[in-house]
């Protein structure tokens, strides 16, 4: 993996954390990391970045379905293992 690939994964982790903290579902970061780890997923990255991405700042019930989306976020610990 070259330096730019490593950089992209680090950036994806930062996007995930910052996005989560601002109420933005960081599907782009997830898709980007998937691509590096599995290859051949460029389309999914493009598709996910075409959407109108919004930030939601509200108290959210931890029992709502949205939580499962939140738990799909990249775990930076696991990311580090893949560097």
């Amino acid at each position: 993996m070259n330096k730019r690939a490593k950089k992209a994964i680090t950036l994806a982790a930062a996007v995930t954390s910052l996005g989560t903290s601002l109420g933005v579902a960081p599907v782009d970061a997830q898709a980007a990391v998937d691509m590096f780890l599995q290859q051949g997923k460029k389309d999914s990255v493009r598709e996910s970045t075409q959407g109108k991405i919004e930030s939601t700042q509200g108290k959210i019930e931890s029992t709502q379905g949205k939580i499962s989306n939140q738990e799909k976020h990249i775990d930076p610990v696991n990311l580090n293992k893949n560097r």
Binding site: N2, K3, R4, A5, K6, K7, A8, T10, L11, A12, A13, A14, V15, T16, S17, L18, G19, T20, S21, L22, G23, V24, A25, V27, D28, A29, A32, M35, F36, Q39, K42, V45, R46, E47, S48, T49, Q50, G51, K52, I53, E54, S55, T56, Q57, G58, K59, I60, E61, S62, T63, Q64, G65, K66, I67, N69, Q70, H73, P76, N80
Partner: protein, 233 residues
């Protein structure tokens, strides 16, 4: 892609409200809404809480957050870590989502802002007034500075996402080779870019400037450091 495909879905009873929409609410401090919640906290909010508690942002993230510093870490009994029998122990520096409640705020990547009225919390003893406006309510909650800070970080996030997309395209074009820019230092030495104190401390060392006392100045440096990082990769 329709609105909502990449957005948190929240239980709102009204949405697409602008700041002039009629809204008024008196909270009776029953504290029911400090249980079973996801409370998002951005680096500015962590810095405010850390300052009040007299600890570093590193300690604050470790002690009170989850998701790499993105949410407050609720206790096993599903209560907020800052809730005690007297109420919110960090009321003066409570996060934006707590100030807004029972509203939520939405911002698109083009800067469009709108609000939702959330479904009332079960057993909430607060009173909906049917007068006033969302803007007035936000002012009463001293939420403006927190919204501005969130917007500063959001602008950075959109830049980071654009940069990520470029990197992905680049790497796919040259999956096995070295990119010409690889000679440029890759600033990946921080394990957590959310940690304002660590990032600003390092940035001050590089810039040979004093570590700022003021949180607004610290936030500005944090954003500068992030900007420097994504533009020098």
């Amino acid at each position: 892609m329709a609105r909502g495909d990449t957005v948190m879905r929240i239980p709102a009873r009204k949405t697409d409200l602008d700041g002039n929409a009629v809204f008024g609410f008196t909270c009776n401090q029953c504290l029911n809404c400090c249980h079973h919640k996801k409370i998002q906290v951005n680096p500015y909010e962590i810095a405010r809480i850390a300052e009040t508690l007299g600890i570093t942002t590193t300690e604050c993230i470790a002690l009170y957050t989850t998701g790499n510093g993105s949410y407050l870490k609720f206790r096993e009994d599903a209560t907020c870590p800052f809730l005690d029998t007297r109420g919110c122990t960090i009321h003066a520096v409570r996060p934006l989502v707590c100030r807004l409640y029972p509203l939520s705020r939405h911002v698109s990547d083009t800067g469009h802002e709108w609000f939702s009225e959330l479904q009332p919390q079960k057993n909430c003893t607060g009173i909906y007034l049917g007068q006033g406006s969302i803007r007035t309510y936000i002012n009463e909650q001293n939420a403006e500075a927190y919204m501005q800070a969130a917007d500063c970080y959001l602008n950075m996030l959109w830049k980071m996402m654009a940069m990520l997309e470029n990197l992905v395209a680049d790497v796919e074009e040259q999956p096995h080779g070295q990119h010409p820019d690889d000679a440029i230092g890759v600033h990946t030495e921080y394990s957590n870019w959310m940690d304002m104190d660590v990032v600003v401390d390092r940035y001050c060392q590089i810039r040979q400037t004093a570590f700022p006392d003021d949180i607004d100045e610290k936030m500005r440096m944090h954003l500068d450091a992030l900007y420097f990082w994504i533009n020098n990769a």
